[in-house]
Symmetry: C2
DNA sequence: ACCCGTTCTGCTCATCTGAGCAGGTCGTGC
DNA sequence: GCACGACCTGCTCAGATGAGCAGAACGGGT
């Protein structure tokens, strides 16, 4: 190896070259004249400076993306696509950016889905909002899980689906049913209803699913909507639930946390999500890291739209194959 | 003007183009294919992105410099040269970087000074330390103000000068005298001494001066060395002193704060500094902003080596000459 | 002293990129 | 309805840049 002295001298030269090139907009030739080296050496110095991270290039824009993270996510979890946006400090702003990015993805995604299955929630509503009118032509929309009929703000679930369809000049088909039923028989009865069965059938044939996920805590929409009590949530958490996917609470291992409750939950199943050609998960924020990990590591989505912190959290975790990750996830419960 | 929609669409395109160009190292041609625009448009989008500040390029390195600030400083204060280094959080580190930058400047400065006049102090000592052995050939060094004979660490003033000379393979000539004398007669007597007069004469003929400056407070080396009492400092501050330059306390207006004290101070005068072809001020840190401003605005240095915060502080201050058009001149800087 | 592998240097050449220009597009005012 | 001007687009062409190569310089081992 060359003596340390020459390395250090080169590094200093590289810094000077970088300053002149990037801050002063000089050509490599001019820089060569100033630093008394050939222009080829200037080129090499700049290449070194870039490699060593002396030059930091950042794209500062709310709509910027983190392509490197996207590539890593797709490779690590076998995703068809990933979208990662920079995370602002503000959590509300973060949700907005992630939703906007999801809307962007939908707009530019080809082929355009003939029929889009959607869930509902705050995130999905923001995605709908962010979609430009006429974002596509004749995309029909179908709900894939029960709505919020008990909600304090009734109709938001329906409004989301309708808005998405309307803006694409298509029709929305709503699932006229609560998300979770109190009794299994009721659920079966509703499921057996011709209309409901028809919608579910249509939903199963959708060419893409768009959904978000909730956290298993008392701030959940399910509690808010009256479908679950705080006590239900506590029980779910005791059973290892990290959050819900289209109404179904799952554990870190990607399994149903409470089969009895799940049986009373109306809508598409996890397997249908997993089997779909395009299942797009839109999720952002620190609180959702555990659910996001559960979904992504168990193949429940094929496209992930998220923020860079979530992306890094997912990538930092050693591979799920390691057994002791189970014990680790238990600690989350305490 | 074009409709807002197209502007926004362009901005988004510009962001995508920037990502592909700077993060993915794609050519403008490839980007054009991806974004479905011509490669010329990609070039224009990138230019726009750069103009609008969407792309931020930063050089992260301890030896990096702030060339834009250097240019502004030189233009604003009529300096022959300026060196501005990025400021780390740590103040000790900052001093080290500024000193190192001063050493770098000396090493690469042409023509090499035949005789270099130096002051002393912590900063100067660090500069000496940072100089590489053999940084130049046959540069002789002469002290330009009295030393710290009363100091708790005697000899550091001498050591600084000697080290600088030694590393350049030259001779150091020391000024064998205290910095400030108690009585005017003593000062005159010493000044009249053949040796001292000879050194001072030599100092007046130096081709460059290298010095730092002290703050007018009780942490000053002069107090530490016993030349001044805290009470003296208080009196100086009352008279408007902001700090000392080669032992002489000056006000923000660039004038001698206390002529009586100044008369008892042995060494080069301010006028000699001002008249010198190369007078290099090495100064860094928040506390020294006022002295730095006094020196720089009154032409006492022709080369300034400092940190970016000090540089910005100097530049932010509206010009002393312009009273009401201060805001206008701010805009000019952008 | 000599050889060999590694790194560095300056070069050619093909490619990439920005400046500048002619023609097209759009909105505006008469 | 039409002409005008501002802006945008795609182009030519020259200058800037990176890949790849042959020879030089260097360091270490025998």
């Amino acid at each position: 190896m060359a003596p340390a002295d020459s390395t250090a001298a080169n590094e200093l030269l590289a810094v000077r070259a970088a300053e002149l090139y990037y801050e002063e907009n000089k050509t490599q030739d001019e820089i060569g004249a100033i630093l008394r080296v050939t222009r080829w050496k200037v080129g090499r110095l700049l290449a070194q400076a870039r490699e060593r991270g002396i030059i930091r290039i950042e794209i500062v824009h709310p709509r910027a993306r983190r392509l490197a993270l996207e590539r890593d996510l797709a490779a690590r979890f076998g995703l068809k696509d990933a979208v990662v946006v920079p995370a602002p400090g503000d959590d509300t702003e973060l949700q907005a950016r992630v939703s906007e990015a999801a809307a962007d993805w939908l707009v530019s995604h080809r082929p355009v889905p003939r029929l889009l299955g959607v869930s509902w929630g705050r995130t999905l509503h923001q995605v709908a909002d962010a979609l430009p009118s006429g974002w596509s032509t004749a995309v029909n929309v179908v709900q894939i899980n029960g709505g919020v009929s008990l909600s304090k703000r009734p109709g938001t679930a329906a409004a989301t689906a309708v808005m998405i369809a309307q803006k694409a000049g298509g029709q929305a088909t709503l699932l006229p049913s609560p998300a979770i039923l109190e009794r299994l028989e009721t659920k079966k009865a509703i499921e057996g209803d011709r209309t409901v069965a028809g919608v579910l059938g249509m939903a199963r044939g959708a060419s893409a699913y768009l959904y978000s996920a909730g956290v298993a805590d008392t701030s959940s929409v399910h509690v808010d909507s009256g479908y679950l009590t705080p006590a239900d949530i506590t029980r779910l958490v005791e059973r290892g639930a990290v959050g819900d996917v289209i109404g179904r609470y799952i554990t870190a291992e990607g399994t149903i946390a409470d089969p009895e409750l799940d049986a009373r939950t109306l809508g598409l199943g996890l397997e249908e999500l997993r089997a779909a050609p395009w299942s797009i998960l839109v999720i952002g924020g620190e609180a959702k890291h555990p659910v996001a990990r559960a979904i992504v590591t168990h193949g429940l989505c094929s496209v992930l739209v998220t923020d860079e912190h979530t992306a890094r959290a997912l990538l930092d975790e050693p591979d799920a194959a390691l057994t002791d990750s189970a014990t680790t996830s238990r600690e989350d419960l305490s």
